[in-house]
Every structure is written in C-alpha cells, then in structure tokens.
C-alpha cells in the first residue's frame, strides 16, 4: 500500500491501444507518486502519452496493466459507479479546444453540473457558489448565460478551471491548460492555479509541452518520451541529467535577445516518432547512444535524492559529460 503522504501513486502502469497483435503502448510501465500539496509537472512532446497518463490517473481510461492508488485506495479496478463516488475529489482541466464543452450548454449548466451531481443545493445557493468561483478565475456572473462558443479562448479556459475547481477537489489534472493561449492569458491562468493551490492546498498534475510554464509553477518535473518516464527532476531548477531533458531544455527560447542560445540541437531528428524494437526508447534520437542502448532498455533509477533518471550512463555521471 502507498503511504499516506501520497495523493496519487501508480505502479507499473501501462496503457495499450489497438488490436492484440498490433498493440501500441501510449504509456508503458510507469511508476511514480504525487505527494499531497505538490505540483508535479509532466512534460514531453505531443504523442508521448502524457494526456493518456493524466486520464488514467482519473480512471477516465482503463489501464491495460498496473495499479493506481488514490489517497491510499487502490482504484485500478473500480467500476463506473464506484468511481463516481470519489470523482468530486479529483478533477481535470481540459485543453481549451472547441470540444471542451457541450455546445448546447451555457456556462451556468457547465459549471453547475458537478455541483448538482455532488452537493444538495438550491438554485440560489448554486448561483452564489458559481458567481464566487467565476470571480476567482477573473470572470463574473454575467457570463453564466453565455454559450461556450460565445467565449474567447481565454474565457473558455477559465470556465474550464471554474468547472474543475468548484467542488474543491483534492487532486487536479491540468492537461495543457495554458498551451494554446497567448502569453497574457497564460500568465493570468498560471497565477489562478498557483493561488488556488496556495489557498486550498490542491495537488496538481500539470501536463504541458511548455517548459517555461512548467518551470514557473511546478515543484517537481517528470519528463516523458514515447510512453516512458525518462527523468524526474526533484525541483524545477534542478540540473537535467537525461539527454532528452537536456534537449528539451535547450529548445526553450529565452525571451531576451542578449542571451543567445549556445547549443543548437541536442538530438537527432527523425521523421516520425516510433518506439524502437529494442533498447532505450530514445536511442534513435540520442546523440550519445551506444550499442548497449540499442539492446537493453534502461530502468528508472534514483541517482540523487529524489532525482530519477532512465539512462544507462547515469551510474557514472561523468560518462555523459565526457561524451558531450
């Protein structure tokens, strides 16, 4: 069993899609824990399985293998009805795509839905609650009667946040909550999330491909590549050790013309991302790959306190630096 300090813990979690013969793993043998009250960042390129992982944690998808614990309970095998009983404690903020809301619903219907499902309230109480929530995310009650297509991208994103936070959940998965919006809104939304966490002690899984945003709000950062965890950084500013994390960080563009990027590209380019038949999933693109990497897949090992890396050359940190 997981210890009580963890909000969420997963062990050997895998999710495969497709028919028996041509299974494709979106998430492969993933184990980690999210402590209560922390923001865990999950980064990776599109198609690396990070959204699938987020949905698995909330059991919006059924895992192929592995175990999921939520606040100490094993929820892996929970039925739809059993999950319903605890869904008020876990929520998800979806990417603000056009499909994030039922097109026939007004903001009032969108936000009141979770409340009606879990709290006994009358219309007046609900309206007061919703108005309060909307104000927290920087909107007001005049938005209640609008349809989602009448909102701008940033307003929609905030309605999504209001829907997720209105029940005061313990655990929130933010799936690309700031990725498709412009910088002004990005700042506002990051602030809202951070404030809510500070006030209410929420635990977040913050999924994004935006390294800058992740570094700004997260306590720890987990890096995924093709369904596998490559590295877990114990803090946002920790030095990246895995070649893939280094490549990702090198790709972040500093908003300062005086800081010129030194290294250009730290990985090999490949047209399509495919899981290699054997070895480390990253070897086809890794600049340091050797024979070993092509045949044996590395385990995720703790290098320093809380710093996990899945790379053969992490036993000896120098090896990598010399190679570089």
């Amino acid at each position: 069993m997981s210890d009580s300090g963890n909000m969420v813990e997963v062990k050997g979690l895998s999710k495969a899609y497709g028919q028996r013969r041509q299974e494709k793993y979106a998430v492969y043998n993933v184990s980690f824990a999210i402590c209560k009250g922390e923001i865990l960042g999950l980064v990776g390129e599109s198609g690396c399985g990070k959204s699938t992982l987020g949905r698995l944690l909330l059991r919006l998808e059924r895992p192929t293998k592995g175990e999921i614990y939520f606040d100490g309970q094993d929820i892996t095998g929970y039925s739809f009805t059993e999950m319903r009983k605890i869904r008020d404690r876990m929520q998800m903020i979806f990417q603000s795509s056009a499909n994030a809301f039922n097109p026939y619903y007004t903001v009032r219907q969108i936000i009141s839905e979770p409340v009606m499902n879990y709290r006994k309230t009358d219309a007046g109480e609900r309206d007061a609650l919703m108005t309060e929530m909307l104000e927290k995310v920087g909107l007001d009650s005049s938005y209640l009667n609008r349809y989602s297509h009448e909102l701008s991208g940033g307003q929609r994103q905030r309605v999504g946040i209001a829907r997720a936070l209105i029940l005061g959940p313990d655990f929130v998965v933010c799936d690309e909550a700031v990725s498709s919006i412009d910088f002004v809104l990005k700042k506002q939304i990051l602030k809202i999330l951070a404030e809510q966490k500070k006030k209410n002690g929420f635990t977040y899984l913050f999924i994004s491909h935006d390294m800058a945003a992740v570094k700004a709000v997260c306590d720890r950062i987990m890096v995924m590549y093709l369904g596998n965890i490559m590295e877990i950084l114990p803090e946002a500013e920790a030095k990246a050790l895995h070649p893939y994390t280094q490549a990702l960080l090198a790709a972040v563009l500093e908003p300062d013309p005086n800081v010129k990027r030194e290294k250009k590209i730290l990985f090999k380019e490949s047209g399509e991302l495919a899981i290699p038949e054997a070895g480390c999933v990253f070897w086809p693109r890794c600049l340091y790959a050797t024979e070993t990497c092509m045949h044996r897949s590395p385990e995720l090992r703790e290098i320093y306190d809380g710093h996990f890396v899945a790379c053969h050359y992490m036993k000896n940190k120098r090896t990598l630096e010399e190679n570089a």
Partner: protein, 269 residues
C-alpha cells in the same frame, strides 16, 4: 550578413481593415504603418485578437467579405498592391510574397502530392517550368529544410507527414516560389519545442540568404531569439516598434512592459 538596404522591400502605410457585421464594425487593423527589409526578420507580436493575422492576410490580398480594406497603401517592389486587380494579385502571391500558415496540414490540399504542391509554387511565376526538370531542385530544397528522405517525401501526401514535416514543406514551398517576402503566420505555435527550433533555424537561414520575413507570433522567446525588428500590436494598432534589442532593452509602452515581465509565480509557491 547581408547589407541592409535603406529602402524597405515592403512598406505598409496607414492600413485599415474593418469587418462589418449587421450592427457593428470591428476595426481589426486600424491604421498600421510598417516597414519590412530584405535580409531581416520582422516580428509582429500581439495577443489573440490583436489583428496580427488579419494584417498579414490584408497584405496577401486574402480578405473576404465581411472584411474590407478600407484605407491605406501596401507598397511592394515599387507597386501599391491595393491598386492591383485580383488577376495581377494572384501573380504577386507566390511570386513576390509567399505565406506559411499555422496549421500547415490544413493549408495543403490533402489529395495533392508534395511534389505537386512544390511544382504549383513554381508554376505560379514560371509558366514554362516542366515538372521533370524541377525534381532535382526540389530534392535539394527539401534537404535544405532538413527533410532527410526527399524522394519519399516528394511522393507523399500531406496527411502522411507529421506536423513538423508539413511545416518544413511549407517553408520549402516558400523557397521554391523564390519570393522576396515571406510571411510566416505563427509557424511554430502548433509544434513541439524541439521541432520549433529547427523550423526557426530554417527561417533564419532564409533571412541570411536575403529574404525579408514577417514573423507573426505571440511568443516573446521566438522574437528574442530570431527576429531583428519588431512591432507590437494591440487592438489593431501598432503600439511600439523598433529593433528587437532596442525594444527589449527599454520597452516604452506599458503593455509591452507587461508582456516582458516574467511570470512571477514563484512567490505564490
């Protein structure tokens, strides 16, 4: 470095593009002045709804009802594009100005092979060109934009390629069109970080080859690392402009300053 000429290749004067609905007028672009020089990347930066995309479409002559260019001049190579007929404008597009879109896959006809897309780009300005003669040149261009297997790519359809590859093909189309001005509308917003870098590097090498590039983006990092000049747009107006170094060193407008201040979420931890 290419010597910077003092006369801009593209000059926009007091451009106004309005959108009319039954009961209101949206001034998407409202009196914009802008100069674009060869061999430089000019960034146009602004939040969503600031009018930056409408502005680029106005230059390309791609504004449809209910939108209308109400006023202003668009000078390209000594001609005012606003005075050209649709037929003349079609020749200008592709030959003198090319455009790269945010969603490359959506901008390409899915049932037309890449080689035909490239040929189309050539054909608009070179009617005599023959497909067969152009193939070696296409291969070279595709290699140039970082696509390693040009023969396979030429025979592919857009949907068979990843987003990053499609965007490279778009850049390649911009190159074979041999246009002096390239408008890149959020070319990397839908791409991953690692892909973004390599596309931006392609754009920079085009700049070094003497092409004028308008880079539309909402990402300050992209501007700081790639652009030479920048214009900040808000509510259809240019509120600040200058070289990237100047503006970043001393932003004058409060909105620009707001954009540039880093995310201070640390204190909320």
């Amino acid at each position: 470095m290419i010597l910077m000429s003092n006369t801009p290749v593209l000059q926009i004067k007091n451009l106004k593009t309005y959108f009319y609905s039954r009961d209101s007028v949206v001034k998407a672009v409202d009196g914009v002045n802008m100069e674009v020089h060869s061999g430089r990347i000019t960034a146009l930066i602004g939040g969503s709804g600031s009018g930056k995309s409408v502005m680029s479409r106005s230059v390309m002559g791609l504004i449809d009802k209910p939108g209308k260019i109400v006023d202003g001049e668009i000078w390209l190579n000594g001609r005012d594009l606003r005075l050209l007929s649709e037929k003349e404008m079609r020749k200008v597009r592709g030959k003198e100005i090319a455009m790269i879109f945010q969603e490359p896959a959506a901008a390409m006809n899915p049932v037309v092979k890449i080689k035909d897309h490239l040929f189309e780009a050539v054909h608009t300005h070179d009617r005599k060109a023959r497909r067969k003669d152009k193939m070696p040149a296409f291969r070279e261009v595709l290699l140039g934009v970082g696509l390693r297997d040009p023969d396979k790519i030429l025979e592919s359809y857009p949907f068979e390629l990843s987003g990053g590859m499609c965007q490279r093909v778009m850049v390649a189309m911009g190159i074979v069109a041999n246009a002096g001005v390239l408008i890149a509308d959020e070319p990397t917003s839908s791409l991953d970080l690692t892909t973004q870098i390599s596309i931006l590097e392609e754009l920079m090498s085009l700049r070094d080859a003497g092409i004028a590039i308008i880079l539309i983006t909402h990402d300050l990092g992209v501007v700081a690392q790639t652009a030479d000049d920048m214009y900040v747009m808000k509510d259809g107006k240019i509120i600040e402009s200058g070289t990237v170094r100047e503006v970043f060193a001393a932003p004058k407008h409060p909105y620009t300053r707001y954009l540039m201040e880093p995310v201070h979420v640390e204190e909320l931890r």
